[in-house]
Amino acid sequence: MATLAPTTQWMTGAKDDYRVCGVTTLKVDMHTERLIIANAVMAVVTLVLGGLFALLIALTRWQAVHLLDATWFYRLLTLHGIDMLVAWIVFFEMAGLHFGSTALLNARHAAPKLAWFGWALMTIGGLMVNGVVLFDASSIVTFTAYVPLKAHPLFYLSYILFAVGALIQVITFFINLVVAKREKRFEGSMPLAVFGLMTAAILAVYTLLEGAAAVVPAFFWSMGILKNYDPGIYRNFFWGFGHPAQQVNLAAMVAIWYMLAQMTVGIRPVNEKFSRLAFILYLFFINLGSAHHLLVDPGLSFAWKAVNTSYAMYLAVLGSMMHAFSIPAAMEIALRAKGFTKGLFGWLRNAPWGEPGFAALVMSMIIFGWIGGVTGVTIGTEQINMLAHNTLRLPGHFHATVVGGTTTAFMGFTYYVIPLIFRKELKLKSWAKWQPYVYGFGSILVSLGMITSGLQGVARRNWDITFAGVVPGTVDLTLAIFGIGALIAVAGGIMYVTVVLVSILTGPRVEPTNMLLLTGTNNPLLDSTKLTDRDMEHPKNQPKGTLVLVFAFLAWFAIYYLTNWWLLGRTWFIR
């Protein structure tokens, strides 16, 4: 039977400054609490900026509206990519790493000053890049800043500051782990969620080092110190950063999935070995995926591309498919153990759909897997990439992963951070209840609109496709779906920010009393410790419904994948 980690007494002394959470019974170091708050605040600030830009560029690509002029479109597109894909997500992950390496291990924050230094560098870098792109037209280079497109040196410097700051905060995660182990704050293995966060942290280290390998030479090249910078080499290193950075998000998101499932349904992982092996598959194979971006580049052999793009043998995909089974299966067992054993899906009907964390978890898993994962593997296939490279199918795929997937999960998690860490009462609860559905639905439309436009050849990062001459009328329709989806998603984003701001800025500080926000007074996290081996293995509690769901997923995966080979077979011969 699983137990809450904390057992050891804290040493007294000036270093230890903590409170005991009344809901989770976890000890929260006050340094950790303040660091989480600081990182979460910056995450929301950059989310607001990126969301505003999202609205404006979506209303421009929606060809019927076509709001901005070309310069502003490309400028805000640049910032949207940076603020959302990097700043919002990485700030949020840093908050998660501080939480995972201390509270979940009964440990103290061993290097708060270093962490604050890292946070400050990230904040300076993140804000500076916004200033540079807004005021310097030459720095409108999009998120990827492909050499030889040359931005202002300050542009690269802000990337470097942000990355170094992130690296420093990640290092404090490892320092905390080592100190916690040495001070015997926990015994045996660390919790699964921390294991997942550690996977994310290890991925983050080499991701950021590769980012340095790409951007530091670009910085010197932009100042004229380095004369030549090969665009192919830059692409290789840039995607060594850009792609694994998304895998950091993936690992952190899956860790948060496990946490949300435990906090809202009270799961006990079905098999710790199974889930941990899945994380280890990420660790070993997922960085090969940077090749996804180089599949139609000159100069690379078929063998190099095929091995790398497939994560050796789709082993990282296997990792995700394992999580795709193990999380719903654990939810099914936990709900069946409560007596919801009727039929294949009786447990689903009785799930806490009105609980924001559960809603966010389900939306995130569906959008990430069924849309993001399936389309990602398909367009990441060496030959099929020729049909998709740099069309709107690309952003269609990654809006399903990082917007509908990661961001929805992070948003849902925030609602629990507000009472548990900020120690403020969650306000506008009915907004919080609907927000994951609104946001998720919006991002589904965004992704589908982009994917179907891309299938018709519409290019990404393009201010006005009508220059291309004849554009099929159906493109107007699919771009309108994308535009309407963006409006709905932005509405969901506004709901999120409003709930967060109203909760944090109004009302007094209150100690949390309840784990669930809307759907009851029980505490699933503590309930989960009561699930015995007998509950887990009882024939009535077996996750048969989940097995049906994952096979349905596989069928959809196969249909989409094979259809794309068929589409490829219809185009011109090329070798």
């Binding site: 409108i140 990827t144 497109l149 660390m190 992982p269 789709y314 498919m321 593997v377 020729m386 077979g569």
Partner: protein, 176 residues
């Protein structure tokens, strides 16, 4: 979020084993599809590449245009030469901000060696509506051996951001 029990290295359950096996078989299938198509498919990503300077490539393009020029045509108000190379020959296409030069006139069912390179920034060769997309880098002569299988006017869109006039970068291939 909770520490696991002391011994968590346990055998997998029946349903987990089933799913793991099926998922692994699917992954192997995904892996095999690529080499299978590489040897048997008609549409593969070109790999033939040479280093070339912008000046050298430009000289080849100009010689090519001079040799096979058959007329002129306009794209968005700008006049371009129309070049009709013989089947089987080397064909050159130059990408620069913000144009594809020249307009190519090809014959359906014939094979051509299409050389693409950029004079300045990175560009994206996106042939529509057949939807073939390739990355174009300065300093690299990327050779695609193509066989047009349909006739008509085809648009080349640039789908890699190449500074502010990017969306105006449009070219043309005519297949007869």
């Amino acid at each position: 979020m909770l520490a696991p029990e002391r011994t968590w290295w346990k055998p997998l359950g029946r349903l987990e084993k089933t799913w793991l096996t099926v998922a692994f078989v699917w992954c192997i299938f995904l892996t095999l599809m690529m080499p299978l198509w590489y040897f048997m498919g008609k549409q593969n990503v070109p790999t033939e590449t040479y280093r070339i300077s912008a000046a050298d490539f430009s000289a080849k393009v100009n010689a090519f245009v001079e040799q096979y020029k058959v007329g002129e045509d306009t794209i968005n108000g700008v006049t371009f030469p129309v070049v009709a190379p013989p089947p089987g020959s080397d064909v050159y296409l130059r990408a620069s901000t913000w144009q594809w030069y020249p307009i190519l006139q090809l014959e359906v069912g014939e094979t051509y060696r299409l050389h693409i390179s950029s004079m300045d920034l990175q560009h994206g060769f996106s042939l529509q509506p057949v939807n073939i997309n390739l990355q174009v880098l300065p300093g690299y002569d990327y050779v695609a051996t193509i066989v047009p299988t349909s006739t008509g006017d085809f648009t080349i869109v640039c789908n890699e951001f190449c500074s502010l006039g990017h969306h105006t970068m449009v070219g043309k291939i005519i297949v007869k």
